[in-house]
Symmetry: C2
């Protein structure tokens, strides 16, 4: 009888793993270090080993597992092929096939941000919906799109790479990707700080942030919540571009819900309200609006979503 | 034995119909007028009548039909519900259910632009692919998104409403929808003319279009093809915003192909090349590119796609 499934979230420093029952209760979660040596050669073996030994400990036979889902920090092609995964050193790999061979179990792989979106849809901020778009606002901006409970990986593995949607053709500075005016340049933690510094330089407006050697995105949001006008302006820029990105997703995949995750999402309601204001403005074509929510699973979204891949 | 299916494309003036065999050969296509009287009350009855009589004429029994697909000029909810369809006068209707009742056959409905995209994927510009995004450049800009051979209708019926993606936050003029800076404002026939007039007003640059009382999008493209610098600039604006829209679709649904249809697409290769140039620039994150093609089915895309709905 198949009673369990495993979710694996491979990151650059640690691999997170979780055993779930098939309705999504977490039975055990744990981490192992990501062995980057020899271009990440041992990562998949380590994962297989970790699964086998923990299942043994929990007296779960591999035959009781429906399968293993795995989130990978890079583009994954529809057949599981990974051309390159910079953070792990992988080139020309098929982690799903490799792990499946080692465990003699069905294994499905997908991009880690997409998998996190599936996790938030299954058990997190978008639980109860069938479709959702997740924006992960961290150092960069990641994303994932779920339609009819399925990840949109895309034909070239860049489905849901929402941080690199172009939102401003007037941007002079280049994004890390080489393009100008990517969402990531405004909606990431780095982006908020950049925007704030720009406003500080271009105006004489007083602000608690003025004169500080350095400050974080959290500092900007904290100042905004205290009513600091300049910080509010910086937050508004982020919300404007994210609202535009949400609207553009509404006119492409039209999800039931938008979920905002990542470190920046800890700012909470100020973010939801700000994004929603612009999202509504940019979707004046229709009265029907999706909801916008904060993600709830944090770093566990990946293992939840990965497990859901095989259900 | 189920050997045939029917595609219906309901427009504001005429309803187009087609009988297809199940591999997509068209057996007969014809049109009936759209009876708008009494809020389009008789349209579905007329369609049922038209199907019955032509099937009779072709000695095709209704039991030989797999079903009927129907494209509707407005948002269609996942259950077939149509809240409002301005061009037909419909309010609170379920055309699929109504037609299904009249014919005792399975009927599926979807938005007409989405259905056209499915048609182009099945037998047109994107034939042979599993995913595609169609931009229909006419008086306005419509669109449709197909992933894994299925239409993305969206949770609120605005999936693939690509003409209303916001592409320019600096736009002063309002779009018909009330928003500012929609793709439609630049990439429609109306949009090209508007852009050209703007450049004519703002510069003294010579152009064959200068001094004309009125000109069409075709005139602009014709002038561009003859090397008219001003017309080339106007075409470039369209290509820039469409290239941006393609790039943003690449980072959301990441299709194999983009298909450009509608009257403006008759401009041909100049359009494909121009859009591709910007699409490549705005997707610098990835080396893998989708192809961009001109639609091939013209006004028949709707009946093809509608028929494909029930296969």
């Amino acid at each position: 009888m198949k009673k369990y499934c495993i979710g694996v979230d491979v990151g650059g420093t640690t691999v997170k793993l979780g055993i779930f029952d098939i309705v999504g209760n977490i039975i055990r979660k744990w981490e192992i270090p990501t062995r980057q040596e020899e271009n990440g050669k041992f990562i998949i073996e380590d994962v297989a080993e970790a699964i086998t030994s923990v299942c043994e400990e929990y007296k779960i036979g591999l035959e009781e597992l429906l399968g293993v889902g795995i989130g990978v920090p890079g583009p994954v092609m529809p057949d599981g092929y990974v051309e390159v995964c910079v953070n792990l050193g992988w080139r020309d790999r098929n982690p799903a096939k490799e792990l499946s061979k080692l465990l003699a179990l069905p294994v499905k792989a997908s991009n880690d941000a997409n998998v996190a979106a599936l996790g938030e849809l299954w058990k997190g901020g978008a639980a109860g919906y069938n479709s959702a778009v997740l924006f992960t606002l961290g150092t960069g901006v990641g994303g994932g799109i779920i339609v009819d409970n399925k990840i949109i990986d895309g034909a070239h593995g860049v489905g849901g790479e929402l941080g690199h949607m172009t939102v401003n053709l007037q941007e002079a500075e280049a994004c890390n990707c080489g393009n100008h005016g990517c969402l990531e340049q405004y909606a990431s933690a780095t982006g908020v700080v950049r925007t704030t510094k720009k406003i500080l330089t271009e105006s004489l407006e007083p602000s608690v942030l003025r004169g500080k050697d350095s400050f974080s995105a959290k500092d900007v949001f904290d100042a905004a919540k205290e009513g600091d006008e300049l910080a509010l302006k910086a937050v508004d820029v982020l919300c404007m571009y994210l609202g535009m990105a949400c609207a553009n997703c509404a006119f492409t995949v039209d999800p039931e819900a938008f979920v905002i995750g990542g470190g920046v999402s800890r700012a909470g309601q100020i973010l939801v309200d700000g994004i929603f204001k612009y999202y509504v403005r940019f979707t004046s074509l229709t009265q029907k609006k999706a909801i916008i929510k904060i993600a709830t699973l944090g770093n566990d979204a990946g293992i939840y979503g990965a497990a859901r891949l095989v259900l």
